[in-house]
């Protein structure tokens, strides 16, 4: 059948196991957002639309072969850096941070673009130098990483800059950065922490202090952590039941459809729900890494691996933050939180992962 053939072609780069796991996670997301938004149908429809758009984007990207994607690496990176410089010079200040750039037609947040552009750029760079890869190249790659990170850190946006750093480091790590440098870097970073403290903004320090002792400021910065921890803890073994979370529905949880949605989930589905969610994430990551390892090109392997590990990092940081073991940084729970940008960028990432694994033939550059 013609239609069947067409559909088959549409999905021929989609990895069935990964797609199935992602579908499970998205169903969880739909249920949780519906509850978190106090059963608002409008919000539900908007969320479904976001998911639909993101899925279309994923399918579309899965058709783009890695070698074609590579061509975008440098332009995307350069454009991103230019926009970040633009933000630094003429960005709009929202909530005390200069993150947005008004282009006349639309207001964009260039740091979002860099979430994908940076690992792409690094993967492309290492791919380019793979024949003669040396420490010097890793050093150059590190510089490529630090330029956007420094610009984003200045905005200031500690969360995003750390996560972009992580995605770049994942590329370097998978690309074969020597263990000595890795260990040395970890030691150095540990030693630099007290100095880094001085460079943190007050509100950033406050978040760290709040993590250490939330009760020091129960109505201010500590409020989010206290309330989300209460929500998680009061969920107990089996949870309060879907739509029955009192912390969520009585408005005690801040940002509960976005960054703190895990608290809603945790309150309503309890420890068992959390276990299933962790297993689901682990399965997605496992399948993602497996696909990454199947990628024929170094670019594909590095980029796909970094994307999957970044996905893991987001999930870990978010759940750690909500359950009170990591400081509050504005990171959504990937594929569960409400919000179109994150949804689209994460699913595009998985589209790349699927593409990298399924495009077998590689044209040498």
């Amino acid at each position: 059948m013609n239609l069947r053939h067409l559909l088959g072609r549409l999905f021929n780069h989609i990895d069935r196991p990964l797609a199935g796991l992602l579908a499970l996670l998205l169903l969880t997301s739909i249920a949780t957002v519906f509850s978190a938004a106090n059963t608002s149908v409008d919000k539900l429809l908007a969320h479904l639309l976001n998911i639909a758009v993101a899925l279309v984007a994923m399918i579309a990207v899965s058709h783009v072969p890695p070698q074609r994607l590579m061509q975008f690496a440098l332009p995307a990176y350069v454009l991103g850096v230019i926009l970040l410089i633009g933000v630094a010079l003429a960005g709009d200040v929202v909530n005390g941070a200069r993150r947005w750039l008004n282009l006349g037609i639309a207001r964009i947040q260039p740091s979002e673009l860099m979430r994908l552009a940076v690992p792409m750029m690094l993967a492309w760079y290492l791919h380019l130098k793979q024949e003669t890869l040396s420490t010097r190249h890793f050093a150059s790659a590190a510089v490529l990483l630090l330029i956007p990170v420094a610009l984003i850190l200045r905005q200031p946006d500690l969360g995003t800059s750390l996560l972009i750093t992580a995605s770049g480091v994942f590329v370097l790590f998978l690309g074969g950065l020597s263990w000595r440098i890795i260990v040395g870097g970890i030691v150095l970073a540990g030693a630099a922490l007290p100095f880094a403290w001085h460079f943190l903004h007050d509100y950033q320090r406050q978040r760290v202090l709040t993590l250490l002792d939330p009760s020091s400021d129960p109505l201010g910065a500590g409020y989010h952590i206290i309330q989300s921890t209460i929500a998680v803890g009061s969920g107990g073994m089996a949870g309060k039941g879907w739509l029955n979370g009192s912390q969520a529905h009585l408005d005690f949880l801040p940002e509960r459809t976005t960054d703190f949605i895990f608290a809603v989930f945790s309150e309503e589905f309890g420890l068992l729900g959390n276990l299933l969610l962790l297993l689901l994430y682990a399965a997605i990551i496992y399948r993602g890494l497996t696909l990454a390892a199947l990628a024929p090109s170094l670019f594909g392997r590095l980029l796909a691996g970094a994307i999957v590990l970044t996905f893991f990092t987001y999930a870990f940081v978010n759940m750690g933050m909500v359950s009170g073991i990591l400081p509050v940084v504005g990171v959504p729970l990937p594929l569960v939180s409400y919000g179109g940008t994150s949804m689209v960028s994460v699913l595009i990432g998985f589209g790349i992962v699927m593409s990298a694994a399924s495009h077998k033939k590689l044209v040498k550059t």
Binding site: Q130, E131, T132, L133, S134, T135, R136, F170, F173, L174, G176, S178, Q227, T229, I230, A231, V232, G233, S234, G235, G236, M237, S246, Q247, L250, D251, F252, S266, G270, L271, N274, L275, L278, Y281, A282, I285, Y286, L289, A292, A293, L298, R301, G305, L309, F312, F316, M319, G320, S323, G324, I325
Partner: protein
Amino acid sequence: MATSLRMVNPEEELRRYNFRIKVAAGIVVLAFTVLFTRFVWLQLVEYDRYHALAENNRITLTPNPPARGIIYDRNGTVLAHNFAAYTLEITPSKAGKLEETINRLAEIVQIDAGDRKRFKKLLAESKNFETLPIKMRLTEEEVARFAVNSFRFPGVEVKARLFRQYPMGEDFAHVIGYIGRINQRDEERIRESGRSANYRGTDHIGKSGVEESYENLLHGITGIAQVETDSAGRAVRVLAQTPPVAGNNVYLHLDAKLQEIATKVFGPYRGALVALDPRNGGVLALVSKPGFDPNLFVDGIDLANWRALNESPDTPLVNRALRGIYPPGSTIKPFMALAGLELGFRKPGDAIADPGYYSLPGSSHRYRDWKKDGHGIVDLKKSVVVSCDTYYYRLANEMGIQKMAGFLSQLGFGHKTGIDMEGELTGLMPTPEWKQKRFKQPWWPGETVIAGIGQGYTLATPLQLAVATMAVANNGKVYQPQLLRGWRDTLTGRIVENPPKVVTELKFDPEHLRIVKEAMVEVTRPGGTAAGAGAGAEYLFAGKTGTAQVIGIKQNERYDEKRIAARHRDHALFIAFAPADDPKIVIAVMVENGGHGSSTAAPIARKVADYWLLGKIPEALKEDAAEEEGENEDTPPPSEPARAGPAAVTAAPTRTTR
């Protein structure tokens, strides 16, 4: 590093990649294990704690204050009740700039200067987070207007509240008292007595009169609602509740009509009247003139009104019946006569010749009789009837102050009567010991002489005079004066009687009592000092006039009523009971600057007795009734029952039900 330029083996590269992927996977497993451990900690180990915290977040206990009990007179006339009305209330902590908010509110709802002043006063006294009324008794239209604009006023809300109201107004202010907002002192008292929990949500408390003394009966039991609230503290739904138990309705011995008549017959005078039922001590009327409008106090009196009341030379805030102390004057004579007989200083037949004065043996100082030329031959009975001073100068001197004080103390002079109201004064029954202690001076014989006619140091409240009169009328049996007749227990629905309390049963010779009583009946008959007031009485009206000096008259001066400033005129006193052969009412009247007891005080007592015994309404009041209608138009709300009419007896009290 040494590996500056080395060819990479693709195989080796792939192996290394796969190894690193495995390392990364290991990190993922490790990280998720950490998370899972954290979840186990929060959701299993610490579950109870977080569960409790979430419940605390969710559930707020809101007090549900009870409706205050209604105060009725003996016939069911409402003396204090509640009505529901809308108020506009501001929560200062949420309202932002108060001045500006109020100004903007004034564009929608009429807020006058008085409202603003009262609000300021309340604000100064308030605890934080309390809502305070800016405007009472909104009209339906104002409620609607505010509702439309309410989004512009955070922290401002319309509330349906119960208001205390005193429909009888000023004539009953001193007996019924009033409630007012709980201040810091009240709060301390509440805390000390362990009633704090029951006063959560209550913002008024009895401040005087019956409202104060029966606060515990009237308040009721506060209900508690478990309300689910959101993070902003807004109630979402009620989970469970214990409804409040309304305060007990209280019934007084007081007769509203009698009280009203007793007040009106005072005319323009200041003074006090106490009417007791000698058969049980019930307070039938308790007047203190001038009164004040108790409704002014309920939600905080404004400064102008407060000043006017507090600084008035007429001291309307003083309850003269309990706190006015006056020399008893000649009203003490029947008691002195009884003392003379009981203590054996006089026999009924003993008579003296009264030259118009008395001098102590060996002294030339003349203690003058009120009648310049004396009363001629005076026996005990006549001494009471004509109020002969000389007789009592002499009797007092013979008796001595100690015995006199001893006897009169039994009748209640110098002791609190124990009435169920706060603030009663003790009066004074002087003794040499007292004087030594008080003035460090010895007692002079002359002081005993004037004590014999109720002058000098002796001081009594009108209530004490009424109680002493009751002792005689009752043949020695003294009941504690009580306002409370009983109450309806809200929980059981049963009427609980407040039993009469016998203070003492004095043993007097019946013959002696008969003589004194007869003499007191003669007082109101032709030839007696209150003959005018007694004329035409259809029952045996026993009484005794009295005059208490306000300023001393020099030895050779004459007291000329007309030439003395009104405020320096003598106080007029009258004590009475009737019918003398079967007393049903005991009355003590004090008219400040009223001149003679016979002309001002006695007619008041007669009118009160006439109404009580015969149901006679004084002619003057019947005409007044029509004029009164328009008087207090600023206070009564729409729901006010008709003034004192029989309709009020059955008028259902207004209250909100949930």
